[in-house]
Symmetry: C2
């Protein structure tokens, strides 16, 4: 690891180590920090499927590492046969979570390297190098985003965040939490308020865990206390991640983001979104984005514990849409886009 | 039970039956509907303490029923000794939850009857009658509130409610849910969306349970999905209860109410509060009301299941304040107060 990618957090979600893939088993958090080690791409596919690893950037790199394992596992002696083996593995890896845009992208990057290669051994080496580079790129993008974002925060700010856009959603460092890390690394003292983020509690299980692990002053609130904390002057800024941002600046992110942004606007609290350019969807309009509805049992119980009666309806959307008028700025690795977003987002891509 | 107090709901939170107190054990909900029977005031005290019964109006009546049991239990032969026995029981009942305003009120009502009585037997009979009357009064107030409130709702409305202001918080029928019941009884078809209401899930455990039990079309959402459901046209009106309303129309209610009201305002959705006059605090100003902070373990876990790491801060306020500018109307047993609330609330009490 070179100095550029040295990170202060010891949490590395997914890593290539001695020709093995090492992951934090996120299903065990926050009660246990367990690292798992895989030498078979089928194990990686299963890990993605069972949420051992989650978060779009982390899944993209995990898919690439999975294909790298498949390359090493292949016993073939010709390039054509190796590519056939890789195509089979790619299908198995892709089918784990077909809606995650980064997964397909990560797999295709590796296939390009395979097709461009010459000998079987050279292809294997190039694939492993490419997958490792993708992991480093993810960290570097987050660190660059962090630098651009950190100037927006002041000493002694208390920053609210929703869901987990942290090291645990990326290879390391994080997007929204990366900005918070960078702010602290720049010498500013910051506190964090994490929302629980029901129904599956990524705020308490992952964000509070990772920030506490890395020595941050973090407080947890139920999702119902967003208004109270803002009305009582306990929050100075908000920063969240994003699952998709369209060209008009409408942000699709974890359910609940929209009401956090609305409450922030009501109290004059700046509301920032931190996301790499790979999160932007420059083709679709906001109204074309379909919001995934998840199973009701996430809301009617917690783990095995049933907390609601049988036979009721449940509305459980995974995401909501925050309109651009509630957003103060969008932090990317190419700088911070400010309103009007239609123009500022266009400029981010022109500069690319 | 006379025809005036006949209720459609079969859920009666607390009842006097054959010189015993019968309660729904709310700690068993939503998984089991269990009725418990007490013939000793100490059992009633313990029930209040352990949340077998909760909700300010229900606790007030439970306290009165507890004192009625104490009167029947007393072996004394003089009025003076009976009153001494009642004072001892009153202290034990009061100390269960000393902050609930209705509990003290309910106990004092019974003591007045005791002091006004003549013979031991006459006092015992009067106390039982008074406690039973208090229970009936609670239902009648809720039904009157329901009638005033029902005209505000239209056929095919979907009504959102937060927390539990239902039969289970009162003797029966409910305040906010009483208004919803009355709307349905008036022949209008309504659906309900219940918020989960973290941290202790009175929305899923109690509101969804009681509405499902009584045949309503009820859907549950996580607290994070309030904005989504409103933005997507799934909610026409909101009605909630209140723990305290001050003379300026600032409403103190379960944590999360303020953000539900803010989101409703943002989407032009009418936001109503349903509460009896006994909920109004005409002495204190909004800024003088102290908001109870509850233990962090309610947020860091659910039941026995730990969902957050150790050693983090937790902010867990029981209530928040909704300012009058977010409120469309306050439904009481004396009619509906509309803005400007300072005047309309004053009028409610003048008409009294």
């Amino acid at each position: 690891m070179n100095s550029q990618t040295k990170i202060n957090s010891s949490l590395r979600t997914v890593e290539w180590k001695n020709n093995k893939v090492v992951m934090i088993d996120q299903t065990k958090l926050p009660n246990e920090l367990v690292f798992v080690e895989y030498n078979d791409f089928n194990q990686v596919a299963n890990a993605i499927k069972t949420l051992v690893v989650r978060g779009a950037p982390a899944i993209g790199v995990s898919g690439a590492f999975g294909l790298a394992l498949a390359a090493l596992q292949s016993k073939t002696t010709t390039k054509t046969e190796l590519i056939l083996d890789l195509e089979k593995a790619k299908k198995i890896l892709f089918d784990t979570r077909p809606t995650a845009i980064n997964l397909g992208w990560g797999l295709e990057q590796i296939m390009k390297v395979a097709h461009a290669g010459t000998s079987v051994n050279q292809i294997k080496t190039s694939i492993v190098d490419e997958a490792k580079k993708m992991a480093e790129d993810d960290i570097n993008i987050n660190k660059t985003m962090g630098k651009y974002g950190s100037v927006l925060f002041e000493n002694n700010d208390t920053i609210m965040t929703h869901c987990n856009a942290g090291a645990l959603a990326t290879v390391a460092y994080g997007t929204a939490l990366g900005v918070i890390r960078a702010t602290k690394e720049s010498g500013k003292n910051v506190k964090v308020i994490a929302t629980e983020t029901r129904p599956i509690q990524q705020g308490s299980r992952l964000t509070a865990f990772e920030l506490k692990h890395d020595g941050f002053d973090v407080s947890l609130i139920p999702d119902t206390a967003v208004g109270y904390t803002m009305a009582n002057g306990l929050v100075n800024k908000v920063v969240v991640g994003a699952d998709r941002i369209v060209k008009t600046g409408h942000v699709f992110n974890k359910i609940g983001t929209y009401q956090v942004a609305t409450m922030a606007k009501q109290h004059g609290i700046p509301f920032y979104v931190a996301a790499p350019l790979s999160t932007f969807d420059m083709k679709n309009n906001a109204q074309d984005v379909i919001i995934e509805m998840r199973k009701g049992s996430e809301v009617t119980g917690i783990g095995d514990k049933k907390t609601a009666p049988d036979g009721i309806g449940v509305i459980n959307p995974a995401f909501d849409m925050t309109p651009p008028e509630l957003i103060t700025g969008i932090i990317t690795e190419k700088g911070v886009a400010k309103p009007p977003f239609k123009e500022s987002i266009k400029k981010l891509f022109e500069a690319n």
